[in-house]
Amino acid sequence: MANNNQVEMTGVKVKLGASDIIIRTVGYVLISLYALACVFPFLIIIGTSFTNETVIRAEGVKLIPKEFTVKAYEMVVRGGMIWKSYGLTITLTACGTAVGLLIIAMTGYALQRKDFPFRNVISFYIYFTSLFSAGLAPYYLLMTQTYKLNDSYLAVFFPLLMSPWLIILMKNFVKAIPHEITESGKIDGAGDLRIFTSLILPMLKPALATIGLFLALGYWNEWYQSSLFLSSRVAVKPLQWQLYKVVNETQALKNSIAGQYIQLTDVPTESLKMATAVMATGPIVFLYPFVQRYFIGGITVGAVKG
């Protein structure tokens, strides 16, 4: 970044000016508008979460709460379960991202090495899994009967550890690193592992940040494996499972045939849904600005050469 500015300072600035100004103006305007469009609905969710339930049913969701109340939040934190869920989700996210990132980076690098004879076979082996899956029942039976992972947090930890998509994305990022770097490492007598850890990894910062971010989001937003494998015997459930339950339960029951026979009691209210959503999104929003440092750092091949 500093470099860019210097280049502009040294006289070329005049030439670049016009187009840069156009692009930047257009950029600031468009990005700002789009960002606002993204925030607005979220503000509505926050506003509604503080609104009295009868008002919501009569007039719909609200940006600015009419008849302000924190009742929904009181219900969310009631019993303190939500804090345990935070603990669980944060732990799962941290561990899963760290382990997943390491494996994905190693695999991505190996698969991109031009001299690795098995790279196409393994790439296909991995990619194929994204096309065919056996469906729910065989997967469920394997996880519960063969691996005995029911009621275990490992049943949530493992499936999200990596995906063909993330590995191929990593492979693609590694591709941007010139093969000469590996070659130069070899000439210096470094082994493959050494080349990977000391030469390649430092250059992969934006890739690691991106894929780490995706992994973290995957773990944070996880509810599906939890709903399959964590039964009512497991007291503490991940955060998004709580959200999923609160938000979907009423609708699921209403639309099903059971709804004709069963009386609904304690139906989650709209404000409770919104409050749970706010709580469940919470801290992860602050992850991005943290990750972004690694993007701005960027990579400079020159640095390695020099």
Binding site: R57, G60, R78, A137, L141, I257, A258, Q260, Y261, Q263
Partner: protein, 541 residues
């Protein structure tokens, strides 16, 4: 006739035999059946209920009971179970654990849990109309309960259920379900409405027909502009049209074929299968017309089909809507003067119930397998599971604990022998939730003192005078060959009825009904009707 029945049964059992194909799990199962009957032969010599002493209770076991619905938040359920388990340990050396299946994706999670077949669950709450009881029994999820087993391990249940009722729990000659057959409940649908407003609208006796409903809604809309007559969310299309047909014919639907209950017989000719959705064209056109009228009156919101945020029942309690469409059980709640039901701040306010079929006196009692308990085929302790069930169904102390919780905390008995919640009761911390809908027992029920029993018993009497028992309890449809057609019919029914039942169709009522019936025809509804008729003939003729 008998020969034919025998032949069909034989061929049916042969088919089942081929399906089972002598696979090992089936073998082990029959094996265990034999050993159980072997164990119990000495037992049946004595009076049955006294055999508990012969049963080996040396090992303490945990019996898991699976139910639909979410796990409760507070600790009171655990406390109740702790107390209950003390009793169960003493009596049958077992304890009970509740395994909850959340409402979201409940069908898939319920069936997946059964599919594990690893002894995760022992007792399984099930229902023939809304929880696939028969498909699950057919697919091997439930244990065949021999008469000896029931006599030995669940003697009180065995005695309390009549032989005719046990017959209704059989498939292929085996008992699979223990029915909740001694519990008065009516889940026939209708409209709960403001009786006082209906009287204002000139309906002196209240709403007695669909036409009266039109009058009522029109009056409410004009007189109380702030009130939405019925803030429907568009999910009730099937009950609406089903209710209309019940009100305008003698149609008796068969449970458990599809959500729309689109096949059945008529009260005059129970065993001739037909689908009123194909035959009662004029009636359907009338229905389409009336619903268009309701839509134009503004009974519901314009975008009713996508309405996600309404909660009509809660709004009814506070007087923001004028009607609620659900079953009689829900009405018993709405007509009662409970805390927070602010409509009753107005001393004139009263809640009436117009039940579907009121015009034609067409009311069918609930199937006894609407709620039932089954034992998982993979249960490691089926005998003990039955013993536990026998207690929570028939033992007063266990029953009260399991259904109402700890006395003094979750409920207390009033002077006139009814139950109410104690002062300062907080449902989150003091309430229990075990969703026990599979073995409630009127002999042990304690009436809820907050309910409006005068009104409720009056209606129940009316029902008892006109009802017929559910006639098809023994019919377990074999839908394998027609399932693909039924699936497509489901979709057609949903697609068209959504539009018809909320008056949102384009064109004339005649056109939309004709289009709907043509689509059903094309999807093969006649073949389904014929297939069901063949199965009926085999069973009933």
């Amino acid at each position: 006739m008998k020969k034919k029945l025998l032949a069909t049964l034989l061929s049916l059992s042969m088919v089942m035999g081929i399906v089972a194909c002598g696979k090992t799990p089936a073998d082990t199962n029959t094996g265990s059946d034999n050993s159980q009957s072997g164990n119990t032969t000495q037992g049946t010599d004595s009076t049955g209920s006294e055999t508990a002493s012969d049963i080996d209770l040396s090992e303490h076991v945990v019996i898991t009971y699976m139910t639909t619905g979410g796990a409760p938040e507070g600790n009171q359920t655990d406390e109740m179970l702790r107390q209950l388990n003390e009793i169960l340990t003493e009596k049958v050396n077992a304890e009970l654990e509740v395994y909850y299946i959340d409402w979201t994706d409940y069908l898939s999670n319920y069936n997946l849990t059964l599919a594990r077949m690893d002894g995760t669950v022992d007792l399984v709450g099930t229902a023939s109309d809304w929880l696939d009881a028969w498909p699950n029994a057919k697919n091997g999820a439930f244990l065949e309960l021999s008469e000896e087993m029931l006599q030995t391990y669940a003697p009180k249940t065995w005695e309390s259920v009549s032989p005719e009722h046990w017959d209704l729990c059989k498939y292929n000659g085996n008992i699979y379900l223990m029915p909740e057959d001694n519990y008065a409940q009516w889940t026939n649908h209708g409209f709960a409405y403001r009786l006082d407003w209906a009287k204002e609208a000139g309906l002196a006796d209240g709403v007695k027909s669909w036409e009266d409903l039109t009058t009522y809604f029109r009056y409410v809309k004009e007189t109380y502009p702030d009130v939405i007559p019925w803030d429907s969310d568009g999910t009730q299309y099937a009950t609406m049209v089903g209710g209309w047909i019940t009100s305008h014919s003698n149609y008796v639907p068969i449970d458990g074929i599809n959500a729309g209950a689109m096949w059945g017989g008529s009260k005059d000719d129970l065993y001739t299968v037909y689908s009123p959705y194909m035959t009662d064209t004029d009636s359907l056109v009338e229905f389409a017309k009336m619903m268009k009228e309701w839509d134009e009156i503004g009974v519901w919101k314009t975008d009713v089909l996508n309405n996600t945020s309404s909660d009509n029942r809660e709004d009814y309690k506070i007087g923001r809507v004028a009607a609620e469409q659900h079953h009689t059980q829900t009405w018993t709640d709405l007509c009662s003067h409970k805390d927070g039901y602010t409509i009753y701040d107005d001393p004139n306010a009263e809640t009436g119930f117009f039940y579907f079929g009121e015009e034609t006196k067409n009311v069918v009692a609930l199937s006894i397998t609407h709620g039932a308990m089954a034992v998982s085929a993979a249960s490691k302790n089926p005998e003990r599971a039955l013993m536990v069930y026998d207690l929570i169904r028939n033992d007063e102390e266990c029953y009260r604990l399991f259904n109402y919780g700890v006395e003094g905390v979750s409920y207390e008995i009033t002077e006139d022998g009814m139950r109410k919640t104690p002062d300062g009761y907080n449902s989150a911390t003091d309430g229990i939730s075990v969703n026990y809908w599979w073995g409630r027992n009127d002999d042990l029920e304690i009436k809820d003192s907050t309910l409006n029993w005068d009104a409720i018993e009056k209606l129940y009497k009316e029902y008892d005078a006109i009802k017929i028992d559910y006639p098809y309890g023994q019919f377990v449809p074999d839908v394998d060959d027609i399932q693909s057609k039924i699936d497509n019919i489901n979709d057609i029914h949903t697609t068209y009825m959504k539009q018809i039942a909320f008056g949102k169709y384009n064109g004339t009522p005649e056109e939309i009904v004709a289009e709907y019936q043509a689509a059903l025809q094309k999807a093969g509804i006649d073949e389904v009707t014929a297939a069901l008729q063949a199965q009926f003939d085999a069973l009933y003729k």
